[in-house]
Amino acid sequence: MNPSKKSFIKRKFGGDAGWGYIFIAVALVVFALFTAYPVASAFIISFQDYKPLGSTFIGLDNYTETFKDALFWRSIRTTIVYTILTVPVALLLSFAVAILILPLKKWMQTTFKAVYYLPAVASGVALSVVWLWIFDPMESGIFNKLIGLFGIGNQNWLGSSSTAMFSLVFMAWLSSHGTSIIIYLAALLGIDTSYYEAADLDGASFLQKLRYIVIPCLKPTTLFLLVTGVIGSFQVFQNAYLMTGGGPDNATTMVGLLIFNNAFKYFEFGKAAAQSLVLAAFIAIVALLQFKFFGKEVEY
């Protein structure tokens, strides 16, 4: 072998570099098997009429059908509405709770973190059963009991298109902020205390400290949570599937649910794969726009 080539290989893969490759091998193998391979498969399937015993290549038909499908666009609109209504409020709530937890003693912080994280550990199906009870359309429902105190009659929370979306949004507002709270709390603890000391010397109020120190310092965290929140919200599936089934009159049919139905109800895997990739492209564009508009003033 050419000595210069040999030394290049040694430089790139020998010594510490070689050990580095060995250490990342596990993550790489897992990524390749469970992320890269399924994505590549989905890309190929999106051009096929998929059948387990032999698929046929149909070109762009699945994409053409997707773009012509009125329900697909309606589900995209529904998902956007859901995202706009849930993500900002969820961020605000997480931020507020993290601020409230911050001054507490360490053991109390830990307790609250555990309490808020608990829904993330609990089964989504079990949580949905509880929410179904809360939204029970008859008098026995918790919400109907509550509004009954004010003389308001029973509401068909999940069965009426005027309240079904609100019900899912409300559910999102009140559940699973644990991860965001922990991330916000970690970021808050990372702010140098000298900033607060300087602000105290200048006689800054709590709100001024929040506005001029906390919020700017948390911008990278907020951007991260916003981007991941929007991505998660676009992929939302479980709540609509378990709570409303997409109804009534497709008022809560999110795009994730539509893709699931195409794949597992109608076995149209090609169309489902095409819709997934269109959704992925849409999410990527939204994420890029978020970085473009909100990432300008972020210092990492």
Partner: protein, 482 residues
């Protein structure tokens, strides 16, 4: 020291990778059960060679899964060269588990599913046609009507376990209080107008509030498609397609049924929140005396009601909270517009699948033996008695003679009457047409029905929307125009 820790870390990393891959590979092995079995039979060739038949089975009846070990033993005793490997699944997991295995190309040899799922898997090419492997004795054991449901085109894709009538269920005491001659209704049926007047009498009000409805049907969740499907069968549309394969729900009769559905809610006989009432909720309403009649009613509900009555008598805390004693009465679905009554039936059974490899004749014969074992004789008799459903095999009826079942004889007779005019199977409907109809049902009919029930859509608007979507799907000439 540095090198040692690096080596140790590498060994751990490799160990983790190997474990991950091993998990994948063992999973593949499990999924490939059916094709492996086929492979074994392939290799064995001669009849009598060892073979394993895999079956994915849900809790068909309350005690069904408790008997798996005994079933496997009995099958092995009758067929010493064959092993029946049963994989239990919950009803919730069943479809997803099966669909995943089917789409991976390695389904079980046998799965217990509804016959309405057959066309979906035929379209995938993953069902095993057993018409050449099933003996004439086996076929002759079954009542012809349920057997037809296991067919698609020319193929036979398994054996039926039961044919269950989808009916209504009434509370005997409330029916009597409302002056409804339920025994006559069981024998002679009732028209929509008679039914409407009857359920009005069942409504009990306390001031402005309704404490008991005349009729509550589950329309949310998995039950969402049942309500309309059951009613339209009695309005001259026994199937979504006419005998000349035109889409039937564009008929004017369909619109009249939609109007009647709305009318029952507007009368106050059914709750205005009906669109959110799921199967569990309406059964709770029945047992707690909040409705006189419920739907859909299955024969096994009599068993559930009886068990709850026993718990109430025994002061058992596990009785449904707030429940009252209720004698369950099987009632027919009313007929509409002078059309004959047609009973919706659920024919579930043991459907036979194939893997990516073409199964050998020997393996096919072995799968048929296993499916027949599960769907006839003692196993079928025990399961059907547990479910309170009628026996559909000669061997099942014989085996059931020595078993006692505590059923209301009026209900037994009523179910028998209902089954006498069961909706016939339609194996002639091409799978592509069937798939389009299912999609139309899921994407247009059910969502619009939910809006109709919630009072957000007029019957005419729902009918127009469905008609438009049907014409888009089947063409102007592919739908009924009357």
């Amino acid at each position: 020291m540095k090198t040692k820790s690096r080596v140790l870390a590498s060994v751990l990393a490799l160990g983790l990778s190997v474990t991950t891959l091993a998990a994948c590979s063992s999973n593949n092995g499990d999924n490939g059960g059916a094709s492996n079995a086929g492979g074994n039979a392939n290799a064995g060739g001669a009849s009598g060679a060892k073979d394993t038949i895999t079956a994915l089975l849900p809790p068909v009846s309350p005690t069904y899964q408790d008997n798996f070990e005994q079933m496997a033993k009995d099958f092995n005793a009758a067929n010493p060269n064959l092993t029946l490997k049963i994989e239990p699944a919950s009803w919730e997991d069943m479809t997803q588990k099966l669909d995943t295995q089917v789409n991976a190309g390695s389904p079980p040899d046998i799965a217990f599913i509804g016959s309405d799922g057959i066309s979906k898997y035929v379209q995938q090419g993953m069902l095993m046609d057993i018409k050449d492997a099933a003996t004439s004795d086996m076929i002759a054991d079954y009542d012809p009507a349920p057997m037809e449901y296991m067919k698609n085109g020319d193929g036979i894709y398994g054996f039926p376990a039961y044919m269950e009538a989808h009916a209504l269920g009434g509370n005997k005491e409330f029916l009597e209080k409302a002056g409804i001659d339920y025994k006559s209704v069981q024998k002679n049926g009732w028209t929509y107008d008679e039914f409407r007047e009857a359920i009005k009498k069942g409504v009990v009000k306390e001031g402005d509030k309704t404490s008991r409805y005349g009729f509550v049907f589950a329309t949310a969740g998995v039950a969402s498609k049942d309500y309309l499907n059951i009613l339209v069968k009695n309005a001259g549309m026994p199937n979504a397609f006419t005998t000349d394969n035109k889409y039937a729900y564009t008929s004017k009769n369909f619109l009249e049924v939609l109007k009647d559905i709305r009318q029952l809610i507007d009368d106050g006989s059914m709750p205005k929140e009906l669109s959110s009432v799921d199967a569990g909720k309406r059964w709770n309403m029945f047992l707690t005396g909040q409705t006189m009649i419920t739907g859909k009613g299955l024969a096994t509900f009599e068993n559930s009601a009886n068990k709850n009555n026993e718990k109430i008598d025994a002061n058992d805390g596990s009785a449904v909270k707030g429940s009252i004693k209720a004698d369950y009465i099987v009632l027919p679905v009313p007929s509409f517009l002078g059309q004959p009554a047609v009973t919706t039936v659920a024919v579930d059974g043991y459907v036979t699948f194939r893997g990516k490899k073409e199964p050998t004749a020997e393996h096919k014969a072995n799968v048929v033996k296993a499916a027949y074992f599960l769907a006839s004789g003692k196993v079928a008799a025990t399961t059907n008695n547990d479910l309170f459903v009628a026996h559909i095999t000669k061997t099942g009826r014989t085996a059931a003679e020595s078993m006692t079942v505590n059923r209301n004889p009026d209900n037994v007779a009523a179910v028998s009457t209902l089954l006498s005019h069961a909706a016939p199977a339609r194996p002639d409907i091409p799978v592509e047409l069937g798939a389009k109809a299912i999609k139309l049902e899921d994407e247009v009919m059910i969502p619009k029905l939910q809006a109709l029930l919630a009072g957000e859509l007029k019957p005419e608007d729902m009918y127009d929307a469905l008609k438009k979507a049907a014409i888009d799907a089947f063409g102007e000439d592919g739908v009924v125009k009357d």
